[in-house]
Structures are given as C-alpha cells and as structure tokens.
C-alpha cells in the first residue's frame, strides 16, 4: 500500500489580484524526505511556498497536510499543525536578540512546552547561536542570520521545515555547511522542503526535486536523475 504523502499539493492555481502566477501545480512531499523546488528567479517558487504556509490562498485546487485539508487555513493556524516556514530574505526580527528570536519561534502552545528541549537541539546544530544569544539579530551577518532563522523555524517543533531561498547571498562553501546541518536535521526525522535558485547545488543535496518555470511545473523526479537531464543542464547549468 503506497505511503500517504505528508504534504499533498493538488492542482493549485494562485493569483495576485487578477494576475495568475501559478498554473495547475501538483506536488507531494513524503515523510523524511528532502525535496527541492528549483527554478529561476521569478518562476513562482516563493509564491508556491507562501500558499503552502497559508500566507496566500489558491483560487483553485487544494492542499493536504497529514491527511488534513489546509487549503484555506491562515498561516498562524498552519504553524500549529507542524509546518514551519523560514521566509525568503531570512527575516529575523531585527530588534530582538538571537535568543528572543529563537524563543518567539516556539510561540505556539505545543512548541512552548518543548521550548527548552528544542533550544538545546538548535544550539547543537548551530553552536554559534549559543555564543551570540544576546546579540541583536540585525547585527548578524547574512550567514549567521540564515542559521538563526533556520534555528527559529525548528523551535516550532515542526514535522516539515520549509526553507525559502536559503543560499541567496551566501558563499557556496557556507551553503555546503548549511546543507550538512540540514542533513542532520533530516536524520532527526524532520522532513525538509526547499526552494532554491541555486539549482546545481540543490540537486546534489536533495532526494527529489521539482523544476518550476514561469508558474508551471516542468520536470520532477529523483534529484540525481534530474542532474543528468539534458533540459536541466542546458537551462540551469549554463556554459
């Protein structure tokens, strides 16, 4: 009997006002996987993530998480169900300290009771955050902020961690390190959904991937296999 996917997106159309930006998107994420949605800038990746996390709603289609329909739930309700999104542009709360940012990540009722346990885990993944815990978030470097917001995302005790454009503005070496941590997180049983412009690096780290182009899914499958695809190589691994 095929395993029920943790997250099911079924044929969604998404609009900004009257402007359609996503057409008939379907995807699934199974428990324990690292799935990537890759594509060029402006392809609609972030819109897709916002729709999954409830900041936007599809005009058509539906989304199911853990066998429960979440299509029209609001963002703050979805977090409580176990989906945690690390937004595009990092977005730590600038005037709050590292520790305050992490603590606010465990705002939902369930997460509060597990706060200390999760905080210890986050410090294990990112020892730097422990060192800088009283530093104002806005004074951190881009890479440090990325670590902070991933840690903050983990504080809500998610089943699935969604990360939007992690590698933007960061060196490939640093991104490699971050992926190392993501693999550790995945080993602890947390499913990961990534959205990335950096197609090359991402396809070498994820299990499965979807390629999105101007609002439509054009390819999907095993990440390594996609690396070999002619279309992908020509479009994204440029000469």
């Amino acid at each position: 009997m095929p395993e029920e996917a943790l997250l099911h997106v079924n044929n969604i159309d998404v609009f900004y006002g009257n402007l359609q930006v996503l057409w008939d998107i379907s995807l699934e994420v199974r428990s324990g996987e690292m799935v990537a949605i890759a594509g060029a800038n402006g392809a609609g990746k972030s819109t897709l993530l916002k729709t999954i996390s409830g900041l936007m709603h599809p005009a058509r289609g539906n989304i199911h998480f853990n066998s429960r329909e979440i299509t029209h739930l609001n963002a703050h309700e979805i977090v409580n169900l176990g989906i945690s999104q690390v937004p595009e542009g990092r977005k730590p709360f600038p005037e709050m300290t590292v520790l305050q940012n992490l603590v606010i990540g465990s705002y939902s009722q369930k997460a509060r009771t597990l706060r200390n346990k999760n905080l210890a885990k986050v410090y294990e993944f990112f020892p730097l955050l422990k060192k800088r815990k009283n530093q104002l978030a806005k004074t951190l470097s881009g890479g440090e902020q990325q670590m902070l917001v991933i840690g903050r995302g983990l504080m809500s005790n998610p089943r699935i961690l969604i990360i939007d454009e992690m590698s933007l503005g960061l060196s490939p070496i640093f991104v490699r390190e971050l992926f190392g941590v993501l693999h550790d997180i995945k080993a602890q049983g947390i499913t990961i959904l990534l959205v990335e412009q950096n197609v090359w690096q991402t396809l070498h780290e994820a299990d499965r991937a979807y390629i999105i182009e101007t609002g439509r899914l054009v390819l999907s499958g095993n990440a390594r296999d996609l690396c070999e695809e002619e279309e992908v190589r020509n479009a994204y691994f440029g000469a």
Binding site: A75, V79, P87, E95, Y107
Partner: protein, 289 residues
C-alpha cells in the same frame, strides 16, 4: 539676557516632571501604531474619556482619581478589546484608511457624547493634594507634577517588562517589527491587535486620571494632546520605550522653557520646533529604528 541657572531651575524641573504625563499619553498611541501601522486619531479622546470617568467617580462617590483606576484600568482594557475586535479590525481588513476613518468617527462620538453628558465647560479633578507643592532648594514644584513623573516611570517599566518577558508581549513586539513573519511563528494578528489596543486604552485611562489632576480638561481637549503625543513619538522614535520616555521629557522641557521665555506662544511653538529640528538631524527619531 542670560538668566542665572537657578532662575531656570523651576521651569526646567517642572517641564521634565509634567513631561511624564506626555509619556503616558504617547505610550498608548505608540503601541497601536507599532502593530497596526495606523495612528489612532481617537487616542486623545480616549484619554479625556479617562479623565471624565475619574471625574464621575470622584464627584459621585468621592473616590480619589488614582484609586478609581482600580476600576478604570480593567474597564478601559475591556472596552479597548471590544472596540478593536468588533469595529476597528473589521475596518482594518478592508483597508488601513477605513480603520483611520472609523477611529475618526469614534473620536467624534466621544467628543459629542462628552459634551452632552458633561457640558463644554472645563472640569478638573480636585483632590486634597491638587494644590499642594513641595520645595527642593529654591524650587517649588506642584505635587501633581511629581506624580506625573513617577507614574510615567512606573508605566514605562511595567510595559517594558510585559513586552520583554511575556509571550504575548513578545508577540506584540514581533508583529510590530514584521507582521508576516510573526504569522509564520503562529502569532494570530487579530489577537495581537486586540491586546495591544486593549492595553493602549487602559493606558489612556491612566493618562486621563493624571491629565485631569494636572490640567483642566473639556470635551475637545483630546485633540491637542493627541498632537503632543504624536510629537513625542516622532521625537523619541518609534518602537523604543526609552525613546518615548526621553521624548516626553524633552517635550515637557521645551514647552516649559518656551513658555518661560516667550509666553503662551513659546509654549506652543518651541516643542514643535524641537520636533522639526530632531526630524531634520535624525529622521527616525532619537532612539528610533
């Protein structure tokens, strides 16, 4: 033209002390603006409503205005939550302009209701200590001015601790800095607005009592105090408790010194000139982000 410092000691001390009143008024306004990004144009009127509430309790039951806050604070807190939940938030979901218009409507309603209930004549909160003053060296200070300062310190400390140490307080802080990301933390914006507004109106009740003890008031007194509160926030910078506190002190001080050197005109003009000067040198305010 240089007066000796001791001659200035009185207006300087008085200005700093009654500046405390402006701090308490501005704090409520700042809280709401921080989360909703809307200026509650009825805030001054809620403060005056607080003054009238204390007046009613004082004249009908003889209860001291400060003590009446035991009832006033919870009452105004609940009123704030209800107004936000059933009026303002619904308008806000349409647009921020709609919320502004509703606030304006509330302002008119309060002003006119107050006129009907208590006539346009000025009132004040007269207590046993209304005319008491104390002496430090050569300086005589009205006791109520010292109370204004003390209550400002208490209120700022309490609100600051609330914002720092409680989940709700941190939720309000987070939503003020980045609402969408706050939602991704599981924070419900409607809840945050309700509590922020409730607290702001409770603060208005406190401000109203001390305003009534310090100055005479009438149904339309809310507007000039709203403008002063706005000036204080701009001066001190948005999002900073310390900024609001210092802003209130500076406002009171410049008002007092302005009045000392240039009479009533100076009293009105100098503080707002200060606001302009600060805005030019540092647009985000002294402690703003």
């Amino acid at each position: 033209m240089l007066e000796s410092l001791s001659a200035l000691a009185t207006p300087i001390t008085m200005g700093i002390l009654y500046g405390g009143l402006y701090v308490v008024i501005a704090l409520g306004l700042s809280l709401v603006f921080g989360v909703m990004k809307v200026i509650n144009v009825a805030h001054g009127d809620f403060v005056i409503l607080g003054s009238y509430f204390a007046y009613v309790v004082l004249t009908s039951k003889g209860v001291d205005p400060v003590l009446s806050l035991g009832l006033g604070i919870p009452l105004f807190f609940i009123m704030g939550i209800l107004i936000q939940k059933y009026l303002l938030y619904r308008a806000f979901k349409i647009s921020t302009d709609a919320a502004l218009i509703i606030a304006f409507g509330i302002s008119l309603i309060i002003q006119n209701a107050a006129q009907l209930a208590w006539t346009p004549m000025s009132k004040s909160l007269q207590t046993g200590y209304s005319f008491k003053s104390f002496q430090v060296g050569d300086v005589y200070i009205p006791l109520v001015y010292l109370l204004d300062f003390i209550v400002a310190v208490i209120v700022v400390v309490v609100v600051h601790q609330f914002l720092q140490r409680t989940y709700l307080g941190q939720a309000i802080t987070a939503a003020s800095q980045d609402q969408q990301t706050a939602e991704l933390m599981g924070i419900n914006p409607a809840t945050v607005y309700q509590y922020a507004f409730g607290i702001a109106i409770a603060l208005a009740a406190v401000a109203g009592v001390f305003l009534g003890l310090t100055f005479p008031f009438n149904p339309i007194s809310g507007v000039p105090f709203l403008i002063i509160a706005f000036g204080v926030i701009i001066l001190g910078g948005l999002g900073s408790m310390v900024g609001t506190f210092i802003g209130g002190m500076i406002f009171g001080l410049s008002q007092s010194l302005g009045g000392h050197f240039w009479g009533p005109t100076g009293q009105l003009l100098v503080p707002f000139l200060m606001v302009l000067v600060i805005l030019t040198i540092r647009p985000q305010g002294l402690f703003g982000r």
